[in-house]
Symmetry: D2
């Protein structure tokens, strides 16, 4: 289980989301309230978009709360679209390559949850990857695998179709155990940000849409960053949400 | 607030204390039950005695639970006397130099708690250090400072006197704020291991003596390592306990 | 011995100085050509100025060449005034607190060289620090000490006087051994950048002023970043150089 | 290009090989004399055998020269058979999972050199791995891949046959580019230690057998640890050397 947040809106310092709110991601690293584990200390990372297509990427294996660099980077770096993640590992060592976000070209991706029976099925899943995406794999997590499968399945052309197809492929390989899937993910091309909650059961990691905060932007977050500020709505499971220029649309993943 | 454990007895692999017990130090790093903070993820360290007078020292800034090396070192290294510590920092960055144990020659030292008003009084305390111990200071913690003050006050000749004098000096410099002191410490010369709990109020970090476990040794630990195995007794505050060749003696710090 | 570079001019990505030039600081980390040691692998750091008075600070203990984050940060962060440093340690462990630049409020500082006999004289030097600067000391290096002495001696009011006085104090404490001093330093308040080379003998670490590069800015660097581009002039020893709005002025340190 | 050393003989502290000799592995990390790169600062590691079948493993991403823990571990740990390695990376990030030695059960493995055209052929090589060894892959290096291929090809039953078959498989996949292979490897089951030098051209990384040192053991090392002590012989290419109970035997890899 992990915690994450994406911001989209007017350019602001990253600290306005990652550090300063009462229940910021930094606070959640020690005191997550809606996760199975209160502590998310197995590394962190963030990706942010600037003038170039390709986002910047900063990841480290320390807990977010002990990285002095993180505080200064979040104070100095401003962005109109950024993703940040703190990790509580389920599979895969604590190494930078296993930390989120994952990036590929202009795309960035974060995940919270787990693909059921992943250690046993890893080889089979990796065999499904397109060559370019196989070559791009740097770690061993189910999260990076999911991202590279999305890319293999045409994320760059049709995100909705890519998600639907990737989940179908994974479930087909899993059979019965698919019930154990718990996947909440978000990803962006630098302009539109997508997110969904999906699970094989009723147990689905939380994901909120937040708006109405003073910076004027919008947020997709595992937990509300501040219960007293802004409006927070839990996203429905089984739908792909897309946030672009301040408008949040959604579409069912099935049917 | 931190958690620690010292072992003295027949030579055993460190993992028998640090990793394997149900409520081992590794377990306490995520689930401490008698500390103000359940998480002790700001680094860890251990010191162990072998054939030489000088103990080995291993410290790192990662949380104990993410250091793959730690597990293997604890499986392979055997010792008759060792100290292990997990840190939840109060003052001083997360750096190896601020991790416990601290060592000097054949002596090793660990601490849990805090010296009241330390940031304001640091310079004054450091001015009390003997030259050799001033030169040996590598970090900024109140813990290392306390150890070096003990050494300055004759730890190598008379541990009881050194503790009494060091506390008196510190209290004299503090005045009123001495009430805020909360110090539970343990230290060893490689043969005798000492420990005490001291506080300016009723709020004193816990410290247990454990015996009767199957390895035949004895333990001084912040929390019982396994409620179902061995005998665990909370040590009284205000007394200096000394463990040598299986015998635990004690003597009041005052009077 | 270390290597460093300061840039002042139009806002550019840090990579234009730190990563991309043929003999960039990253290249110097493995192949310094005018230093006693070709390898500067004991950590690195950079400070950069933006809209706020206080610069951002990023330091790590890895060699610059193995930090994947460094490349991305330098690609994304743009600044009109920044300092970058790679370390080859003489005294003080490889820890973030011993990495340059050092910062205090709006000031930043980097150093290359050594204060003679520092381990023996450290206590005496630290006793000269003003209380606020003593409290700000986080590491053990002669470099940070020099910076905090400059601040104690009025760096914020009169940089020239602060340098002259600090060197005089140090030499007075050293006596004969002052001959062993080798100090090349640079520091900035976010607007004016100062630098000097000073030594007790003929052996003084190099420092170049570079201009005429295509980004239109100016550079103070341990080694020319590219022998084929721009104009590189070795700065004279014993003078304080000051770079402000593209104008480089200087004034003798003595007499 | 990397540097490594294996020791087999009477139990000695690791420092007698890794730290203390005039041209120890620690010295080679900054001043390798027979490698393409003088600096091997992209992490290090060591594996050592004790009472259990499975060796201990310690690896980190810091340069060997900046890891304070390394010195103490080498001073305290004694072993009759150990491997140590310093890395200068060719492919694969600086992460613990990409550091040597690699271990599997009671086997340990180190490598110096490169498999030609590896980035392009990685997927093909990984497809050759047995399921258990595919699951055991944690990094991305050609070195770990070679080790897991050896295991797939029966290393545990017949090391000579496993090496011959693995090289043949790799060359078959490579075709023309096989000329670029440069592989010097060593591996042990905790009793017998094997080593070979192999290349598709005349350019083969060095490997020496050392004996006659005062500790009475034998060494296989990239470079002689001390030109003035012991007898050092360059091993011939194209032969598998096996060291067991002080006897060094060898057998051609081909024919």
């Amino acid at each position: 289980m992990c915690r994450f947040v994406v911001y989209s809106g007017p350019e602001i310092p990253l600290e306005n989301i990652v550090i300063l709110p009462r229940h910021s991601l930094l606070d959640q690293s020690q005191h997550a309230s809606e996760a199975k584990l209160a502590v998310n200390g197995d590394g962190f990372g963030m990706a942010w978009y600037g003038d170039q297509d390709r986002p910047g990427l900063y990841r480290d294996v320390l807990p977010a709360w002990s990285d002095g660099n993180l505080v200064d980077l979040c104070r100095m770096i401003r962005s109109r679209l950024f993703l940040a993640h703190i990790r509580a590992s389920t599979f895969g060592e604590t190494s930078r390559n296993n930390c989120h976000p994952f990036t590929y070209g202009n795309w960035s991706f974060m995940h919270n949850g787990e693909i059921a029976d992943f250690p046993r099925l890893r080889r089979r899943f990796e065999a499904m990857l397109g060559d370019a995406y196989y070559a791009a794999r740097r770690g061993r997590t189910d999260s990076e695998l999911f991202f590279l499968l999305l890319l293999t399945n045409g994320l760059q052309e049709d995100p909705h179709e890519a998600v639907v197809q990737t989940i179908a492929q994974i479930e087909a390989a899993q059979g019965e155990v698919a019930r154990g899937n718990r996947i909440t993910a978000t990803f962006s091309d630098g302009h539109t940000t997508h997110a969904f909650r999906y699970s094989g059961s009723d147990d689905i990691p939380t994901l909120y849409h937040g708006s109405g905060m003073d910076h004027g932007g919008q947020v997709l977050a595992s937990e509300p960053l501040d219960p007293n500020t802004g409006t927070w709505t839990m996203l429905e499971a089984g739908r792909l949400y897309s946030l672009n220029k301040g408008a949040l649309t959604h579409r069912p993943l099935s049917g």
